[in-house]
Amino acid sequence: MLIFLKKLFFAFKESLNSHPEIYPIQTFDRLSYYIKDTNLEKAVDDYLNNYKIINKIAIKNNAKYFNFLQPTSFGKNKQLSSFYLASNSHLKRIKTKDGITQADVIFNFFSMLYTKIKHYKNIINLQSIFDQIEGEIYIDHVHFSDKGNNIIAKAISEKILEDENE
């Protein structure tokens, strides 16, 4: 009965919304749980600690570890197409009670990370890899098409070959 009432409330709320969502209420709860903790500095430190630990394990096992940071469609240098704007606006609709959007959290996390990785040789930032590519790469707000995968794979291969030749 409670679930039904929630659904009913959701339907009512959606009927007033000019840009309706199709997610059930539970999904919102789950997302707001994830973006509740906006202590990004801690998140970035955790990320770098994980990098260090995995790197140590790799060295111990005579292996090499490279960390490639994925491109995001936020804060790109080139003009954003209507598709990117529409797909990114989805992330801006999901907010915490303080008005911080999911897009803000992602953007701030990566911005902070980029400033801290400059001294890490094996963290390769692929943020701007699609900047010079004509046409659309993303299939949604975050995932790439075959074309995008191909470009990323090429960058990874070049790094591996560069390492082989060192």
Binding site: S87, H90, E136, K147, I160, L161
Partner: protein, 217 residues
């Protein structure tokens, strides 16, 4: 007494009407036959799961209908619209998970990872091998070079959500790039440990912390 039954009947019809409306809205972007089946409780559970995720994709991308999404896929993948429909949209309402391209796979509970794909799945755009990993199409080691292994860890992007086939994922492309290069000293065999659930990826990091993956390294 008759009046009580009549009121109850009206209430049931009212709630049924609301339920049907909500169901119709949930699959708003899917073809009509899917919506009708779902409204009248006739859509298979798995066909519903895939249809719902496709609707989310349409919505997240800011499109107005499924055809716009398929046109976009066609544009970014250089495949014809018919090929895209064939790959991504189930044609039977009782079908099993169809494409897999949206990260929908049959899963099993795993004590360490939480959830893991059931091994040996063959879907329209995704194949899962005997270890529960997405298949990587490795180029053959024709020139018998010394082998080196590359393990790809990551989330949905590494798994290849958005790829139109196993041969188009990042590990498969890397295998192609490296092994088709005649100047390489080694033969690189690639393994895709990418998981489509971010939570599983985080747990993988935890496992790496516990040296679990040392076995593979």
């Amino acid at each position: 007494m008759n009046n009580v039954f009549l009121i109850l009947f009206i209430i049931v019809i009212f709630f049924l009407f609301i339920e049907i409306t909500l169901r119709y809205k949930k699959l708003i972007y899917m073809p009509l036959k899917f919506k009708i089946r779902y409204c009248f409780f006739l859509l298979g559970k798995r066909a519903l799961a895939e249809s719902y995720v496709i609707c989310q994709r349409v919505h997240r991308c800011g499109f107005k209908n499924i055809h716009d999404l398929m046109q976009h896929y066609s544009k970014v993948t250089n495949l014809s619209i018919n090929q895209i429909y064939k790959k991504f949209i189930p044609n039977k309402v009782y079908s099993d998970y169809y494409s897999g391209a949206h990260g929908l796979l049959n899963e099993t509970f795993d004590a360490e990872l939480g959830y893991k794909a059931i091994p040996n799945q063959k879907l329209q755009t995704v194949n899962i091998d005997e270890y529960g990993l997405r298949q990587t199409i490795n180029v053959e080691n024709i020139s018998r070079k010394k082998e080196k292994k590359i393990i790809f860890l990551g989330g949905s992007i590494m798994f290849g959500i958005g790829s139109t086939g196993d041969e188009k994922t990042i590990p498969s492309c890397v295998s192609r790039y490296l092994n088709n290069n005649k100047n390489t000293k080694f033969y690189y065999k690639c393994y895709n440990y990418g998981e489509f659930r971010a939570s599983v990826t985080l747990k993988q990091v935890g496992l790496v912390r516990n040296c679990y993956l040392e076995l593979f390294l």
